[in-house]
């Protein structure tokens, strides 16, 4: 039980208008303390469902999941979640948004002021504390949401395609920023993305999910130097890893198509 995140054959079937959807099937995953793991797979493979299951907001149908040795049954303080969108509250200023979790947890804000300011400085948002979300760019909003997730110092970060809604340039910037924060804070991170390049750049290991119902396909150990040297993303080795993961995904999709089980979810996003 040394793993910080321990997922044991979790399954999720949820009801939809077109009948039950079998989103995740007996998926297992282990993440050690301080590890950075990415989960990739074709669109609609259930990777988001998996992550939401781990948040405790969206219980699994079968199987068990543990975070820090405790069974995932409700949202816990040790876990921080970063959503697809910044999801800031539009009626609150940036600083009020960042303090929101502490308010809900009824923490004494005084003890956090300095910590919050350091976090705000580290994502280069100082000077914008009094701004409303509508006055901030998408990248700034998402940086604020990262500070919000870190405000109460959770040990684990669950990230659901956090930079998916940003433009390509901002996304790369955010990836670098995230790695810096990870190095500094030593959090354990599970990161869902459909961009293989992003997964390879960020993570120590990449879990590949099969098309729906998503189950374990392969795990890739990313053997690239840390900290990631500049220009790594145009390095031959980087491309080889990315290509291999893409091949795995395409192969999984083809296999399912042959067996007739493939539930038409575009896989063009990975090819």
């Amino acid at each position: 039980m040394d793993n910080v995140i321990d997922v044991k054959k979790v399954t999720k079937v949820y009801a939809s208008e077109r009948g039950p959807v079998h989103a995740v099937d007996k998926f297992s995953m282990e993440v050690a303390e301080g590890d950075f793991v990415a989960i990739v797979g074709p669109s609609g493979c259930g990777k988001t469902t998996l992550l939401w299951g781990l948040t405790g907001l969206h219980p699994f149908t079968a199987g068990r999941a543990f975070i820090l040795g405790k069974e995932v049954d409700k949202p816990r303080r040790e876990v921080g979640i970063i959503f697809q969108q910044a999801n800031l509250l539009p009626w609150r200023t940036l600083i009020q948004n960042i303090k929101f979790p502490l308010e809900i947890m009824k923490e004494d804000l005084k003890g956090y002021e300095q910590r919050l300011q350091e976090l705000i400085d580290s994502v280069e948002l100082s000077g914008f504390e009094g701004h409303y979300p509508r006055e901030l760019s998408g990248g700034m909003q998402q940086r604020a949401s990262i500070v919000r997730a870190l405000s109460y110092d959770p040990e684990v970060l669950l990230m659901d395609e956090p930079f998916g809604a940003l433009d390509a340039y901002t996304r790369d910037e955010m990836d670098t920023l995230l790695l810096n924060l990870w190095k500094k804070t030593k959090k354990t991170i599970a990161f869902v993305t459909h961009r293989i390049e992003e997964a390879v750049y960020l993570a120590n290991r990449v879990y590949v999910m099969t098309p729906r119902p998503g189950t374990n396909s392969a795990v890739f150990k990313i053997d690239l130097p840390r900290p990631r040297p500049e220009g790594i993303t145009i390095d031959r080795k980087f491309f080889e890893i990315v290509a291999e993961i893409k091949k795995t995904i395409v192969r999984d999709v083809e296999k399912q198509k042959e067996s007739g089980a493939y539930q038409s979810q575009a896989y063009s996003t990975v090819t």
């Binding site: 907001l57 969206h58 947890m105 509508r134």
Partner: protein
């Protein structure tokens, strides 16, 4: 547990930026921006128009020698206003207290019902037609009946005001409380928020712009009903004075009372525009 919290267990919210768009009702921002004064030029412009209208009115009445019982000049109205003030002021206070008491009762019930009923969609669906009947039936029509039962006191008028403003507040607040944003509720829940915290920190602020619209419209409807109820019977209230002066063809006095009535209406509007500007401007 809240219905929306339950929904969350079955459904991963979609992150739609458009989920804060207005859904029905009218947009408070138009009333808010209308009251915004961009410097002295606008004030001067508004005053200028007032001078032209009042001056023209005064001039036309004098040129065509319109008798006062047909159409009084602004100057005559001003004189009547000052002269009759001590006589009319108690009636102003009566109408104001009818309005305020009825409104506070109606709006509170409307708000609480909206907050509770949106938690129980089935009951809400059953109750909505009755609320619609209350809205579409002018409650002023009930006043003679109420007076028959309760006498020519202030009580039936307060009830009428409550019946007029309550449903208005309720229907708008309901629209507000229905603007649930699952993603924001998920956010609060992920920090372990209780149902009450979710209501206080997510659902209420999200509903606030529509609640303010409801309070504004409810206030205006309450005023209409209060003045109307005064007219139906009894010997008090601004509505009663309007009927009294018009029956005597004392039109200068009639208009002087009208000035007080519209002063109440304008005050309601200014109060809620200010509140809207402060608490609902985030969605502009």
């Amino acid at each position: 547990m809240d219905v929306y919290e339950k929904q969350l267990e079955e459904e991963i919210p979609e992150f739609e930026e458009s989920s804060h768009e207005q859904q029905g009702g009218f947009d408070i921002s138009s009333t808010v921006s209308a009251v915004k004064i961009h410097g002295w030029q606008q004030v001067l412009g508004i005053l200028g128009v007032a001078v032209i209208i009042l001056g023209g009115w005064e001039l036309l009445v004098h040129i065509f020698k319109v008798p006062e019982f047909v159409f009084p000049a602004p100057s005559a109205i001003a004189v009547a206003f000052v002269k009759s003030f001590t006589n009319v002021f108690p009636h102003f206070l009566i109408t104001l207290s009818e309005l305020v008491s009825g409104y506070v009762i109606g709006a509170s019930i409307g708000l609480v019902l909206a907050a509770v009923l949106t938690q129980a969609p089935y009951i809400e669906k059953i109750i909505t037609p009755y609320i619609l009947i209350l809205i579409t039936t002018p409650t002023i029509a009930l006043v003679p009946l109420l007076m028959l039962k309760l006498g020519f006191t202030i009580v039936p008028r307060i009830i009428a005001v409550a019946l007029a403003s309550g449903p208005m507040v309720m229907i708008n607040a309901t629209t507000g409380f229905r603007r649930t944003d699952l993603a924001k509720i998920a956010l609060a829940k992920s920090y372990g928020a209780s149902t009450f915290q979710i209501f206080k920190k997510i659902r209420f602020p999200l509903a606030l712009p529509m609640i303010i619209v409801g309070l504004l419209v409810g206030g205006i409807f309450g005023l209409i009903t209060a003045v109307g109820a005064d007219m139906v019977g009894g010997k008090m209230g601004l509505g009663n004075k309007l009927g009294y002066y018009s029956s005597l063809a004392r039109m200068a006095n009639f208009f002087a009372v009208l000035v007080l009535v519209s002063a109440i209406g304008i005050s309601i509007w200014i109060i809620f525009s200010r509140i809207g500007k402060k608490w609902a401007s985030w969605q502009e």
